[in-house]
Protein backbone atom coordinates (compact mmCIF):
# COMPACT_ATOMS: atom_id res chain seq x y z
CA UNK A 1 0.00 0.00 0.00
CA UNK A 2 1.20 3.45 -0.73
CA UNK A 3 1.74 5.87 2.06
CA UNK A 4 -0.93 8.20 0.71
CA UNK A 5 -3.93 6.42 2.12
CA UNK A 6 -6.50 8.98 3.09
CA UNK A 7 -8.60 7.85 5.96
CA UNK A 8 -10.52 11.10 6.04
CA UNK A 9 -11.62 10.62 2.45
CA UNK A 10 -12.86 7.16 3.14
CA UNK A 11 -14.69 8.33 6.21
CA UNK A 12 -16.39 11.04 4.27
CA UNK A 13 -17.61 8.41 1.88
CA UNK A 14 -18.74 6.37 4.80
CA UNK A 15 -20.80 9.17 6.19
CA UNK A 16 -22.15 9.97 2.75
CA UNK A 17 -23.50 6.57 2.00
CA UNK A 18 -23.71 5.65 5.62
CA UNK A 19 -26.44 3.42 6.87
CA UNK A 20 -27.62 2.60 3.38
CA UNK A 21 -24.62 0.45 2.68
CA UNK A 22 -25.01 -2.43 5.06
CA UNK A 23 -26.41 -5.40 3.28
CA UNK A 24 -24.09 -8.10 2.27
CA UNK A 25 -22.20 -8.93 5.36
CA UNK A 26 -24.75 -8.37 8.08
CA UNK A 27 -27.66 -10.46 7.19
CA UNK A 28 -29.20 -12.58 9.85
CA UNK A 29 -29.83 -11.70 13.40
CA UNK A 30 -29.79 -14.75 15.58
CA UNK A 31 -29.89 -13.02 18.92
CA UNK A 32 -33.42 -14.17 19.51
CA UNK A 33 -32.74 -17.82 18.97
CA UNK A 34 -35.79 -19.83 18.10
CA UNK A 35 -35.94 -23.42 16.83
CA UNK A 36 -36.25 -21.98 13.37
CA UNK A 37 -33.25 -19.83 14.03
CA UNK A 38 -31.26 -22.83 15.17
CA UNK A 39 -32.21 -24.71 12.04
CA UNK A 40 -31.11 -21.79 9.98
CA UNK A 41 -27.90 -21.64 11.90
CA UNK A 42 -27.26 -25.26 11.01
CA UNK A 43 -28.04 -24.53 7.42
CA UNK A 44 -25.71 -21.60 7.64
CA UNK A 45 -22.92 -23.84 8.75
CA UNK A 46 -23.45 -25.93 5.67
CA UNK A 47 -23.41 -22.85 3.54
CA UNK A 48 -20.17 -21.80 5.04
CA UNK A 49 -18.09 -24.41 3.31
CA UNK A 50 -19.23 -23.50 -0.13
CA UNK A 51 -18.93 -19.82 0.56
CA UNK A 52 -15.53 -20.21 2.06
CA UNK A 53 -14.12 -22.30 -0.71
CA UNK A 54 -15.75 -20.23 -3.38
CA UNK A 55 -15.06 -22.29 -6.43
CA UNK A 56 -13.97 -25.75 -7.40
CA UNK A 57 -10.29 -25.03 -7.67
CA UNK A 58 -10.25 -24.07 -4.05
CA UNK A 59 -11.79 -27.21 -2.68
CA UNK A 60 -8.56 -29.11 -3.09
CA UNK A 61 -6.62 -26.33 -1.45
CA UNK A 62 -9.02 -26.32 1.48
CA UNK A 63 -8.84 -30.09 1.81
CA UNK A 64 -12.58 -30.48 1.75
CA UNK A 65 -14.46 -33.52 0.56
CA UNK A 66 -16.34 -31.79 -2.18
CA UNK A 67 -18.98 -34.39 -3.03
CA UNK A 68 -20.52 -34.61 0.45
CA UNK A 69 -20.36 -30.94 1.23
CA UNK A 70 -21.83 -29.93 -2.09
CA UNK A 71 -24.82 -32.14 -1.43
CA UNK A 72 -25.33 -30.61 1.96
CA UNK A 73 -24.91 -27.15 0.58
CA UNK A 74 -27.40 -27.79 -2.16
CA UNK A 75 -29.95 -28.97 0.36
CA UNK A 76 -29.30 -26.00 2.58
CA UNK A 77 -29.72 -23.64 -0.31
CA UNK A 78 -32.90 -25.19 -1.63
CA UNK A 79 -35.52 -22.63 -2.48
CA UNK A 80 -35.01 -18.92 -2.31
CA UNK A 81 -32.96 -18.97 0.87
CA UNK A 82 -29.33 -19.06 -0.03
CA UNK A 83 -27.82 -15.85 -1.21
CA UNK A 84 -24.58 -15.91 -3.14
CA UNK A 85 -22.81 -12.85 -4.36
CA UNK A 86 -19.73 -12.70 -6.52
CA UNK A 87 -18.05 -9.53 -7.70
CA UNK A 88 -14.69 -8.90 -9.33
CA UNK A 89 -12.51 -5.89 -10.05
CA UNK A 90 -9.15 -5.69 -11.79
CA UNK A 91 -6.70 -3.60 -9.81
CA UNK A 92 -3.42 -2.22 -11.07
CA UNK A 93 -1.19 -3.77 -8.38
CA UNK A 94 0.39 -7.13 -7.61
CA UNK A 95 -1.56 -9.96 -5.95
CA UNK A 96 0.88 -9.87 -3.04
CA UNK A 97 0.37 -6.16 -2.37
CA UNK A 98 -3.40 -6.53 -2.45
CA UNK A 99 -3.37 -9.63 -0.30
CA UNK A 100 -1.25 -7.94 2.35
CA UNK A 101 -3.55 -4.91 2.49
CA UNK A 102 -6.70 -7.01 2.70
CA UNK A 103 -5.26 -9.43 5.24
CA UNK A 104 -4.84 -6.51 7.60
CA UNK A 105 -8.56 -6.61 8.36
CA UNK A 106 -8.39 -3.56 10.56
CA UNK A 107 -7.87 -1.49 7.38
CA UNK A 108 -11.01 -2.75 5.67
CA UNK A 109 -13.32 -0.02 7.07
CA UNK A 110 -11.33 2.43 4.94
CA UNK A 111 -13.15 1.22 1.87
CA UNK A 112 -16.05 -0.83 3.23
CA UNK A 113 -18.48 1.89 4.12
CA UNK A 114 -20.79 -0.18 6.28
CA UNK A 115 -18.00 -1.30 8.61
CA UNK A 116 -17.42 0.63 11.79
CA UNK A 117 -14.48 -1.36 13.07
CA UNK A 118 -12.59 -4.63 12.71
CA UNK A 119 -10.40 -5.94 15.51
CA UNK A 120 -7.95 -8.76 15.04
CA UNK A 121 -8.40 -11.13 18.02
CA UNK A 122 -5.62 -13.53 17.15
CA UNK A 123 -3.97 -14.83 14.02
CA UNK A 124 -7.17 -16.37 12.67
CA UNK A 125 -10.05 -14.74 14.51
CA UNK A 126 -11.39 -11.20 14.24
CA UNK A 127 -14.31 -9.18 15.59
CA UNK A 128 -16.41 -7.10 13.20
CA UNK A 129 -18.79 -4.21 13.88
CA UNK A 130 -21.03 -2.88 11.12
CA UNK A 131 -23.64 -0.16 10.87
CA UNK A 132 -27.31 -0.99 10.98
CA UNK A 133 -30.31 1.33 10.63
CA UNK A 134 -31.32 3.73 13.36
CA UNK A 135 -27.81 4.11 14.68
CA UNK A 136 -27.56 0.49 15.74
CA UNK A 137 -24.75 -1.88 14.97
CA UNK A 138 -24.44 -5.57 14.25
CA UNK A 139 -21.41 -7.52 15.39
CA UNK A 140 -19.85 -10.84 14.61
CA UNK A 141 -16.72 -12.87 15.08
CA UNK A 142 -15.10 -14.43 12.08
CA UNK A 143 -12.33 -16.92 11.59
CA UNK A 144 -10.12 -17.67 8.65
CA UNK A 145 -10.78 -21.19 7.44
CA UNK A 146 -8.46 -21.18 4.46
CA UNK A 147 -5.60 -19.00 3.41
CA UNK A 148 -3.04 -19.12 0.64
CA UNK A 149 -0.71 -16.15 1.07
CA UNK A 150 -0.84 -13.89 -1.97
CA UNK A 151 -3.79 -15.77 -3.43
CA UNK A 152 -6.75 -16.44 -1.18
CA UNK A 153 -8.38 -15.64 2.13
CA UNK A 154 -11.54 -17.50 3.13
CA UNK A 155 -13.53 -16.94 6.29
CA UNK A 156 -16.71 -17.77 8.08
CA UNK A 157 -18.60 -16.22 10.95
CA UNK A 158 -18.50 -17.98 14.30
CA UNK A 159 -21.47 -19.15 16.37
CA UNK A 160 -22.97 -16.45 18.55
CA UNK A 161 -22.68 -13.73 15.94
CA UNK A 162 -25.43 -11.42 14.69
CA UNK A 163 -24.56 -12.55 11.20
CA UNK A 164 -24.11 -15.93 9.54
CA UNK A 165 -22.00 -15.78 6.48
CA UNK A 166 -18.93 -17.11 4.77
CA UNK A 167 -16.83 -15.77 2.01
CA UNK A 168 -13.56 -15.60 0.22
CA UNK A 169 -11.43 -13.10 -1.58
CA UNK A 170 -9.00 -14.28 -4.23
CA UNK A 171 -6.15 -12.46 -5.94
CA UNK A 172 -5.17 -13.69 -9.38
CA UNK A 173 -2.72 -12.19 -11.84
CA UNK A 174 -4.54 -10.66 -14.79
CA UNK A 175 -2.98 -11.40 -18.19
CA UNK A 176 -0.47 -9.17 -19.90
CA UNK A 177 0.48 -6.96 -16.99
CA UNK A 178 -3.08 -5.87 -16.35
CA UNK A 179 -2.71 -6.11 -12.59
CA UNK A 180 -4.73 -8.43 -10.40
CA UNK A 181 -8.25 -9.80 -10.61
CA UNK A 182 -9.73 -9.46 -7.15
CA UNK A 183 -12.79 -11.63 -6.73
CA UNK A 184 -15.03 -11.62 -3.69
CA UNK A 185 -17.49 -14.40 -3.09
CA UNK A 186 -19.91 -14.05 -0.27
CA UNK A 187 -22.58 -16.37 0.95
CA UNK A 188 -25.00 -15.57 3.68
CA UNK A 189 -28.18 -16.67 5.27
CA UNK A 190 -31.19 -14.87 4.01
CA UNK A 191 -33.43 -13.09 6.47
CA UNK A 192 -36.32 -15.00 7.93
CA UNK A 193 -38.85 -15.02 10.70
CA UNK A 194 -39.31 -12.29 13.22
CA UNK A 195 -36.11 -10.45 12.53
CA UNK A 196 -38.46 -8.51 10.41
CA UNK A 197 -38.30 -4.96 9.42
CA UNK A 198 -34.63 -4.30 10.01
CA UNK A 199 -33.43 -7.10 7.82
CA UNK A 200 -36.08 -6.42 5.21
CA UNK A 201 -34.85 -2.88 5.09
CA UNK A 202 -31.28 -4.09 4.70
CA UNK A 203 -32.11 -6.49 1.94
CA UNK A 204 -34.06 -3.90 0.07
CA UNK A 205 -30.64 -2.89 -1.11
CA UNK A 206 -28.57 -4.80 -3.58
CA UNK A 207 -25.78 -6.79 -1.90
CA UNK A 208 -23.92 -7.23 -5.19
CA UNK A 209 -23.91 -3.47 -5.61
CA UNK A 210 -22.54 -2.98 -2.10
CA UNK A 211 -19.66 -5.36 -2.71
CA UNK A 212 -19.07 -3.89 -6.15
CA UNK A 213 -18.74 -0.40 -4.67
CA UNK A 214 -16.57 -1.67 -1.79
CA UNK A 215 -14.23 -3.24 -4.33
CA UNK A 216 -14.20 -0.06 -6.39
CA UNK A 217 -13.12 1.94 -3.35
CA UNK A 218 -10.45 -0.70 -2.64
CA UNK A 219 -9.16 -0.23 -6.20
CA UNK A 220 -9.23 3.57 -5.86
CA UNK A 221 -7.44 3.49 -2.53
CA UNK A 222 -4.75 1.12 -3.84
CA UNK A 223 -4.24 2.78 -7.21
CA UNK A 224 -4.69 6.45 -6.26
CA UNK A 225 -3.89 6.50 -2.57
CA UNK A 226 -7.20 8.25 -2.01
CA UNK A 227 -10.88 7.79 -2.75
CA UNK A 228 -12.27 10.39 -5.16
CA UNK A 229 -15.05 12.48 -3.68
CA UNK A 230 -17.05 15.63 -4.11
CA UNK A 231 -18.45 15.52 -0.59
CA UNK A 232 -17.81 18.90 0.98
CA UNK A 233 -17.31 20.86 -2.23
CA UNK A 234 -19.18 24.18 -2.70
CA UNK A 235 -22.68 24.24 -4.15
CA UNK A 236 -25.15 26.96 -4.96
CA UNK A 237 -28.51 27.24 -3.32
CA UNK A 238 -30.79 24.45 -4.42
Amino acid sequence: MTSGVNVAGAERWASALGGAALTAYAIKQLKDRSPAGAALAAAGTALIYRGATGHCAMYAAAGINTANDMDETKRALAGPRGVNVEEAFTINASPEELYVFWRNFELLPRFMNHLVEVRQLDLLRSHWVAKAPAGRTVEWDAEIINEIPGELIAWRTLPGSDVVSAGSVSFKCAPGGRGTEVRVRLQYEPPAGKVGATIAWLLGHDPAYTIHEDLRRFKQLIECGEIPTTKGQPRGRS
Binding site: Y209, C224, E226, T230, P234, R235, G236
Partner: protein, 394 residues
Protein backbone atom coordinates in the same frame (compact mmCIF):
# COMPACT_ATOMS: atom_id res chain seq x y z
CA UNK B 1 -16.73 33.29 -3.57
CA UNK B 2 -18.88 34.01 -6.61
CA UNK B 3 -19.72 31.25 -9.06
CA UNK B 4 -22.04 30.48 -11.95
CA UNK B 5 -24.70 28.13 -10.64
CA UNK B 6 -27.12 25.99 -12.61
CA UNK B 7 -30.67 26.10 -11.32
CA UNK B 8 -32.56 24.50 -14.16
CA UNK B 9 -33.27 24.82 -17.85
CA UNK B 10 -32.46 28.36 -19.02
CA UNK B 11 -31.68 29.34 -15.46
CA UNK B 12 -28.05 29.98 -14.57
CA UNK B 13 -27.13 32.61 -11.98
CA UNK B 14 -24.02 34.10 -10.48
CA UNK B 15 -24.25 33.83 -6.74
CA UNK B 16 -22.20 33.61 -3.58
CA UNK B 17 -21.21 30.10 -2.56
CA UNK B 18 -18.70 28.77 -0.02
CA UNK B 19 -15.05 28.71 -1.06
CA UNK B 20 -13.71 25.29 -2.07
CA UNK B 21 -11.40 23.46 0.31
CA UNK B 22 -8.88 20.65 -0.02
CA UNK B 23 -10.79 17.37 0.31
CA UNK B 24 -8.16 14.82 -0.70
CA UNK B 25 -4.36 14.68 -0.38
CA UNK B 26 -3.63 15.15 -4.09
CA UNK B 27 -6.01 18.14 -4.51
CA UNK B 28 -5.15 21.73 -5.28
CA UNK B 29 -7.21 24.90 -5.00
CA UNK B 30 -6.86 27.22 -7.98
CA UNK B 31 -7.80 30.89 -8.06
CA UNK B 32 -9.41 31.18 -11.49
CA UNK B 33 -8.03 34.08 -13.51
CA UNK B 34 -9.75 33.29 -16.81
CA UNK B 35 -12.47 30.82 -17.77
CA UNK B 36 -14.65 30.23 -20.82
CA UNK B 37 -18.07 29.01 -21.84
CA UNK B 38 -17.94 25.84 -23.94
CA UNK B 39 -20.45 24.87 -26.59
CA UNK B 40 -21.20 21.81 -24.53
CA UNK B 41 -22.18 24.06 -21.59
CA UNK B 42 -25.11 25.15 -23.72
CA UNK B 43 -26.61 21.69 -23.46
CA UNK B 44 -26.64 22.17 -19.70
CA UNK B 45 -28.34 25.53 -20.14
CA UNK B 46 -30.86 24.00 -22.52
CA UNK B 47 -31.62 21.20 -20.10
CA UNK B 48 -30.53 18.27 -22.26
CA UNK B 49 -28.42 16.74 -19.53
CA UNK B 50 -30.53 14.80 -17.03
CA UNK B 51 -27.93 14.19 -14.33
CA UNK B 52 -27.76 17.86 -13.36
CA UNK B 53 -28.81 19.12 -9.95
CA UNK B 54 -29.91 22.60 -8.99
CA UNK B 55 -26.93 24.20 -7.26
CA UNK B 56 -24.25 22.69 -9.54
CA UNK B 57 -21.38 25.04 -10.39
CA UNK B 58 -20.59 24.97 -14.12
CA UNK B 59 -17.44 25.45 -16.17
CA UNK B 60 -14.74 23.10 -17.46
CA UNK B 61 -12.41 25.46 -19.33
CA UNK B 62 -10.35 27.44 -16.86
CA UNK B 63 -6.91 28.45 -15.68
CA UNK B 64 -5.44 30.35 -12.82
CA UNK B 65 -3.07 30.44 -9.91
CA UNK B 66 -2.55 27.66 -7.40
CA UNK B 67 -3.35 28.93 -3.90
CA UNK B 68 -3.25 25.73 -1.87
CA UNK B 69 -2.20 22.11 -2.34
CA UNK B 70 -3.01 18.87 -0.53
CA UNK B 71 -0.34 17.15 1.53
CA UNK B 72 0.43 14.46 -1.08
CA UNK B 73 0.67 16.90 -3.96
CA UNK B 74 4.36 17.55 -4.51
CA UNK B 75 4.20 18.67 -8.13
CA UNK B 76 2.44 22.00 -7.53
CA UNK B 77 2.92 24.82 -5.09
CA UNK B 78 1.11 28.02 -4.24
CA UNK B 79 1.79 30.66 -6.87
CA UNK B 80 2.09 28.29 -9.83
CA UNK B 81 0.21 29.50 -12.89
CA UNK B 82 -1.62 26.58 -14.44
CA UNK B 83 -4.08 25.58 -17.13
CA UNK B 84 -6.41 22.83 -15.92
CA UNK B 85 -7.68 20.14 -18.31
CA UNK B 86 -11.44 19.58 -18.37
CA UNK B 87 -11.09 15.86 -17.69
CA UNK B 88 -9.84 14.53 -14.35
CA UNK B 89 -7.43 11.60 -14.34
CA UNK B 90 -5.77 9.64 -11.53
CA UNK B 91 -2.59 8.99 -13.51
CA UNK B 92 -2.13 5.51 -12.09
CA UNK B 93 -4.77 3.18 -13.52
CA UNK B 94 -4.45 0.90 -16.55
CA UNK B 95 -5.89 3.59 -18.84
CA UNK B 96 -3.86 6.54 -17.55
CA UNK B 97 -0.71 4.46 -17.86
CA UNK B 98 -1.56 3.96 -21.53
CA UNK B 99 -2.23 7.67 -22.12
CA UNK B 100 -5.96 7.03 -22.42
CA UNK B 101 -6.57 9.73 -19.85
CA UNK B 102 -10.24 10.42 -20.54
CA UNK B 103 -10.95 6.76 -19.82
CA UNK B 104 -9.50 6.94 -16.30
CA UNK B 105 -10.95 4.21 -14.10
CA UNK B 106 -10.85 6.09 -10.83
CA UNK B 107 -11.74 9.76 -11.15
CA UNK B 108 -15.52 9.54 -11.36
CA UNK B 109 -17.08 9.34 -7.88
CA UNK B 110 -20.38 8.44 -9.57
CA UNK B 111 -18.88 5.60 -11.56
CA UNK B 112 -21.94 3.43 -10.96
CA UNK B 113 -24.05 5.91 -12.89
CA UNK B 114 -21.80 5.78 -15.94
CA UNK B 115 -21.57 2.00 -15.67
CA UNK B 116 -25.33 1.75 -15.94
CA UNK B 117 -25.34 3.85 -19.08
CA UNK B 118 -22.11 2.79 -20.81
CA UNK B 119 -21.07 -0.48 -19.22
CA UNK B 120 -17.92 1.05 -17.75
CA UNK B 121 -17.13 4.45 -16.33
CA UNK B 122 -15.00 7.08 -18.01
CA UNK B 123 -13.13 9.90 -16.31
CA UNK B 124 -14.57 12.66 -14.17
CA UNK B 125 -15.20 16.04 -15.79
CA UNK B 126 -15.48 19.47 -14.14
CA UNK B 127 -18.92 21.04 -14.01
CA UNK B 128 -20.56 18.62 -16.33
CA UNK B 129 -23.37 16.70 -14.63
CA UNK B 130 -23.28 14.01 -12.03
CA UNK B 131 -22.79 11.35 -14.68
CA UNK B 132 -19.16 12.44 -14.87
CA UNK B 133 -18.74 12.99 -11.17
CA UNK B 134 -20.65 16.13 -10.27
CA UNK B 135 -17.41 18.05 -9.71
CA UNK B 136 -17.90 21.77 -9.09
CA UNK B 137 -16.70 23.65 -12.16
CA UNK B 138 -14.41 26.56 -12.89
CA UNK B 139 -16.80 29.35 -13.83
CA UNK B 140 -16.07 30.55 -10.35
CA UNK B 141 -13.49 32.57 -8.47
CA UNK B 142 -11.90 29.45 -7.02
CA UNK B 143 -12.05 25.77 -7.88
CA UNK B 144 -10.90 22.55 -6.28
CA UNK B 145 -8.83 20.43 -8.67
CA UNK B 146 -8.67 16.72 -7.76
CA UNK B 147 -5.58 14.70 -8.74
CA UNK B 148 -3.91 18.04 -9.34
CA UNK B 149 -0.51 16.34 -9.55
CA UNK B 150 -1.62 14.86 -12.89
CA UNK B 151 -3.72 17.34 -14.87
CA UNK B 152 -2.70 20.98 -14.45
CA UNK B 153 0.00 22.27 -16.78
CA UNK B 154 2.29 25.06 -15.64
CA UNK B 155 2.44 27.84 -18.20
CA UNK B 156 5.15 30.45 -18.71
CA UNK B 157 4.64 34.10 -17.78
CA UNK B 158 5.55 35.10 -21.33
CA UNK B 159 2.17 33.91 -22.61
CA UNK B 160 -1.14 35.62 -21.80
CA UNK B 161 -4.12 33.85 -20.26
CA UNK B 162 -5.98 34.08 -23.55
CA UNK B 163 -3.13 32.43 -25.45
CA UNK B 164 -3.04 29.36 -23.19
CA UNK B 165 -6.60 29.11 -21.79
CA UNK B 166 -7.81 26.84 -24.59
CA UNK B 167 -5.26 24.20 -23.69
CA UNK B 168 -7.96 23.34 -21.13
CA UNK B 169 -10.22 21.77 -23.75
CA UNK B 170 -10.91 23.03 -27.25
CA UNK B 171 -7.37 23.20 -28.67
CA UNK B 172 -6.39 19.66 -27.61
CA UNK B 173 -9.88 18.49 -28.60
CA UNK B 174 -9.63 19.95 -32.09
CA UNK B 175 -6.05 18.74 -32.38
CA UNK B 176 -6.87 15.17 -31.37
CA UNK B 177 -9.72 15.22 -33.90
CA UNK B 178 -7.22 16.12 -36.63
CA UNK B 179 -4.57 13.70 -35.37
CA UNK B 180 -7.16 10.92 -35.47
CA UNK B 181 -7.41 11.55 -39.22
CA UNK B 182 -3.91 10.09 -39.76
CA UNK B 183 -3.21 12.92 -42.17
CA UNK B 184 -0.87 12.06 -45.05
CA UNK B 185 0.45 14.25 -47.88
CA UNK B 186 -2.36 15.27 -50.22
CA UNK B 187 -5.14 14.51 -47.75
CA UNK B 188 -8.37 16.48 -47.82
CA UNK B 189 -10.15 16.82 -44.48
CA UNK B 190 -13.79 17.87 -44.20
CA UNK B 191 -14.96 19.42 -40.94
CA UNK B 192 -18.63 19.57 -39.96
CA UNK B 193 -19.23 22.41 -37.50
CA UNK B 194 -17.19 25.62 -37.30
CA UNK B 195 -17.66 26.34 -33.62
CA UNK B 196 -14.53 26.71 -31.51
CA UNK B 197 -13.62 22.99 -31.68
CA UNK B 198 -14.17 22.93 -35.44
CA UNK B 199 -11.96 26.02 -35.78
CA UNK B 200 -9.19 24.33 -33.79
CA UNK B 201 -9.59 21.16 -35.86
CA UNK B 202 -9.23 23.15 -39.10
CA UNK B 203 -6.00 24.82 -37.97
CA UNK B 204 -4.69 21.58 -36.49
CA UNK B 205 -5.35 19.70 -39.74
CA UNK B 206 -3.16 22.21 -41.56
CA UNK B 207 -0.51 21.99 -38.82
CA UNK B 208 -0.49 18.24 -39.40
CA UNK B 209 -0.01 18.63 -43.14
CA UNK B 210 -3.48 18.53 -44.70
CA UNK B 211 -3.57 19.58 -48.35
CA UNK B 212 -7.05 21.03 -48.08
CA UNK B 213 -9.67 21.52 -45.40
CA UNK B 214 -13.36 21.85 -46.22
CA UNK B 215 -15.42 23.52 -43.48
CA UNK B 216 -19.19 23.14 -43.23
CA UNK B 217 -21.52 25.36 -41.18
CA UNK B 218 -24.31 27.88 -41.67
CA UNK B 219 -23.22 30.76 -39.43
CA UNK B 220 -21.57 33.44 -41.57
CA UNK B 221 -19.02 34.66 -39.01
CA UNK B 222 -17.94 31.10 -38.25
CA UNK B 223 -17.52 30.37 -41.95
CA UNK B 224 -15.49 33.53 -42.42
CA UNK B 225 -13.24 32.58 -39.50
CA UNK B 226 -12.76 29.16 -41.12
CA UNK B 227 -11.94 30.88 -44.37
CA UNK B 228 -9.36 32.97 -42.53
CA UNK B 229 -7.86 29.74 -41.25
CA UNK B 230 -7.33 28.59 -44.83
CA UNK B 231 -10.36 26.34 -45.24
CA UNK B 232 -12.72 26.19 -48.19
CA UNK B 233 -16.21 26.65 -46.83
CA UNK B 234 -19.66 25.28 -47.49
CA UNK B 235 -22.74 27.04 -46.14
CA UNK B 236 -25.13 24.14 -45.82
CA UNK B 237 -28.08 26.51 -45.99
CA UNK B 238 -27.06 27.51 -49.48
CA UNK B 239 -25.23 24.55 -50.99
CA UNK B 240 -25.91 20.80 -51.01
CA UNK B 241 -23.23 19.38 -48.77
CA UNK B 242 -22.51 15.99 -50.35
CA UNK B 243 -22.40 17.22 -53.93
CA UNK B 244 -20.23 20.19 -53.01
CA UNK B 245 -17.79 18.11 -50.95
CA UNK B 246 -17.53 15.62 -53.81
CA UNK B 247 -16.93 18.36 -56.34
CA UNK B 248 -14.24 19.93 -54.14
CA UNK B 249 -12.40 16.60 -53.96
CA UNK B 250 -12.47 15.72 -57.64
CA UNK B 251 -15.13 13.10 -56.99
CA UNK B 252 -12.97 11.15 -54.50
CA UNK B 253 -14.52 12.35 -51.28
CA UNK B 254 -12.56 13.61 -48.25
CA UNK B 255 -9.86 11.28 -46.91
CA UNK B 256 -11.20 11.95 -43.45
CA UNK B 257 -14.28 13.63 -42.04
CA UNK B 258 -14.46 15.36 -38.67
CA UNK B 259 -17.81 15.69 -36.90
CA UNK B 260 -17.27 18.69 -34.62
CA UNK B 261 -20.99 19.07 -34.02
CA UNK B 262 -21.96 16.14 -31.88
CA UNK B 263 -25.18 15.48 -30.15
CA UNK B 264 -24.95 15.82 -26.45
CA UNK B 265 -27.88 13.89 -25.13
CA UNK B 266 -27.05 11.87 -22.04
CA UNK B 267 -30.32 10.01 -22.05
CA UNK B 268 -30.57 7.55 -19.20
CA UNK B 269 -33.09 5.53 -21.16
CA UNK B 270 -33.71 4.85 -24.80
CA UNK B 271 -36.93 6.82 -24.69
CA UNK B 272 -35.28 9.81 -23.10
CA UNK B 273 -32.58 9.79 -25.67
CA UNK B 274 -34.96 9.61 -28.60
CA UNK B 275 -36.94 12.47 -27.17
CA UNK B 276 -33.83 14.54 -26.83
CA UNK B 277 -32.69 13.65 -30.32
CA UNK B 278 -36.04 14.74 -31.68
CA UNK B 279 -35.80 17.97 -29.80
CA UNK B 280 -32.30 18.52 -31.07
CA UNK B 281 -33.54 17.99 -34.61
CA UNK B 282 -35.48 21.24 -34.35
CA UNK B 283 -32.24 23.15 -33.92
CA UNK B 284 -30.79 25.07 -36.77
CA UNK B 285 -27.75 22.86 -37.09
CA UNK B 286 -29.79 19.67 -37.30
CA UNK B 287 -27.24 17.93 -35.16
CA UNK B 288 -27.74 14.20 -35.76
CA UNK B 289 -27.45 14.77 -39.47
CA UNK B 290 -23.83 15.95 -39.30
CA UNK B 291 -22.58 12.46 -38.47
CA UNK B 292 -24.79 10.92 -41.13
CA UNK B 293 -23.46 13.35 -43.70
CA UNK B 294 -19.88 12.76 -42.65
CA UNK B 295 -20.28 8.99 -43.05
CA UNK B 296 -21.99 9.39 -46.39
CA UNK B 297 -19.45 11.85 -47.77
CA UNK B 298 -16.28 10.12 -46.56
CA UNK B 299 -14.21 8.40 -49.23
CA UNK B 300 -13.80 4.63 -49.33
CA UNK B 301 -11.38 3.42 -46.69
CA UNK B 302 -11.48 6.83 -45.01
CA UNK B 303 -11.66 7.89 -41.39
CA UNK B 304 -14.53 9.49 -39.52
CA UNK B 305 -13.16 11.38 -36.52
CA UNK B 306 -15.68 12.46 -33.91
CA UNK B 307 -14.76 15.12 -31.33
CA UNK B 308 -18.42 16.14 -31.10
CA UNK B 309 -19.93 14.60 -28.01
CA UNK B 310 -22.55 11.88 -28.16
CA UNK B 311 -24.28 10.52 -25.12
CA UNK B 312 -26.78 7.86 -25.93
CA UNK B 313 -28.41 5.95 -28.78
CA UNK B 314 -28.19 7.31 -32.28
CA UNK B 315 -31.01 6.84 -34.71
CA UNK B 316 -30.65 5.95 -38.39
CA UNK B 317 -26.89 5.97 -38.69
CA UNK B 318 -25.95 4.79 -42.21
CA UNK B 319 -23.97 1.86 -40.95
CA UNK B 320 -24.28 0.10 -44.30
CA UNK B 321 -22.32 2.92 -45.94
CA UNK B 322 -19.73 2.76 -43.15
CA UNK B 323 -19.37 -1.00 -43.55
CA UNK B 324 -19.38 -1.14 -47.33
CA UNK B 325 -16.81 1.67 -47.62
CA UNK B 326 -14.62 0.14 -44.93
CA UNK B 327 -14.54 3.27 -42.82
CA UNK B 328 -12.57 3.68 -39.62
CA UNK B 329 -14.17 5.50 -36.68
CA UNK B 330 -12.14 7.39 -34.08
CA UNK B 331 -13.83 9.15 -31.22
CA UNK B 332 -14.00 9.87 -27.54
CA UNK B 333 -13.34 12.56 -25.01
CA UNK B 334 -9.92 14.11 -25.46
CA UNK B 335 -6.93 12.47 -23.80
CA UNK B 336 -5.95 15.90 -22.54
CA UNK B 337 -2.66 15.18 -20.80
CA UNK B 338 -1.29 13.64 -23.99
CA UNK B 339 -1.63 16.93 -25.85
CA UNK B 340 -1.33 19.85 -23.44
CA UNK B 341 2.44 20.06 -23.24
CA UNK B 342 3.16 19.53 -26.95
CA UNK B 343 0.50 22.07 -27.86
CA UNK B 344 1.87 24.58 -25.36
CA UNK B 345 5.10 24.17 -27.30
CA UNK B 346 3.22 24.97 -30.54
CA UNK B 347 1.92 28.16 -28.94
CA UNK B 348 5.34 29.16 -27.59
CA UNK B 349 6.88 28.65 -31.01
CA UNK B 350 4.23 30.92 -32.53
CA UNK B 351 2.75 28.20 -34.76
CA UNK B 352 -0.72 29.03 -33.51
CA UNK B 353 -2.45 31.50 -31.20
CA UNK B 354 -5.68 29.81 -30.08
CA UNK B 355 -7.12 33.13 -28.85
CA UNK B 356 -8.27 33.80 -32.43
CA UNK B 357 -11.70 32.31 -31.60
CA UNK B 358 -12.48 34.80 -28.81
CA UNK B 359 -15.24 37.24 -29.64
CA UNK B 360 -16.47 38.24 -26.16
CA UNK B 361 -14.60 39.14 -22.98
CA UNK B 362 -16.76 39.68 -19.89
CA UNK B 363 -16.69 39.69 -16.10
CA UNK B 364 -18.19 36.57 -14.52
CA UNK B 365 -21.30 38.40 -13.36
CA UNK B 366 -22.36 38.80 -16.98
CA UNK B 367 -22.11 35.07 -17.62
CA UNK B 368 -25.88 34.37 -17.55
CA UNK B 369 -26.46 36.82 -20.39
CA UNK B 370 -23.35 35.58 -22.18
CA UNK B 371 -24.72 32.02 -22.16
CA UNK B 372 -27.80 33.23 -24.01
CA UNK B 373 -25.81 35.33 -26.47
CA UNK B 374 -23.59 32.35 -27.23
CA UNK B 375 -26.51 29.94 -27.50
CA UNK B 376 -28.42 32.20 -29.86
CA UNK B 377 -25.26 32.98 -31.86
CA UNK B 378 -26.10 36.65 -31.49
CA UNK B 379 -23.68 39.52 -31.78
CA UNK B 380 -21.22 37.42 -33.81
CA UNK B 381 -20.55 35.31 -30.76
CA UNK B 382 -18.12 32.42 -31.25
CA UNK B 383 -16.27 32.18 -27.94
CA UNK B 384 -16.83 33.88 -24.59
CA UNK B 385 -14.11 34.23 -21.98
CA UNK B 386 -14.96 35.30 -18.45
CA UNK B 387 -12.95 37.07 -15.75
CA UNK B 388 -14.13 35.83 -12.35
CA UNK B 389 -12.35 38.50 -10.33
CA UNK B 390 -13.49 41.51 -12.35
CA UNK B 391 -16.66 43.37 -11.57
CA UNK B 392 -18.88 45.12 -14.08
CA UNK B 393 -18.80 48.90 -13.65
CA UNK B 394 -22.26 50.25 -14.23
Amino acid sequence: MRALVWHGTNDVRVERVPDPTILNPRDAIVKVTTTAICGSDLHLLNGYIPAMQAGDILGHEFMGEVVEVGKENTSLKAGDRVVVPFTIACGRCFFCERQLWSLCDNSNPNAWMAEELYGYTTSGVFGYSHLTGGYAGGQAQFVRVPFADVGPLKVPASLTDEQVLFLSDIFPTGFMAAENCDIKPGDVIAVWGCGPVGQMAIRSAFLLGAEKVIAIDDVPERLSLALKGGAEVINFEEQPVFETVKALTGGRGPDACIDAVGLEAHGATLDAYIDQAKTAAYLATDRPSALRQAIHACRKGGIVSIPGVYGGFLDKIPFGAAFQKGLTFRMGQTHMMRYMRPLLDFIERGLIDPSFVITHRLPLDQAPQAYKTFRDKEDGCIKVVLKPHEITIH
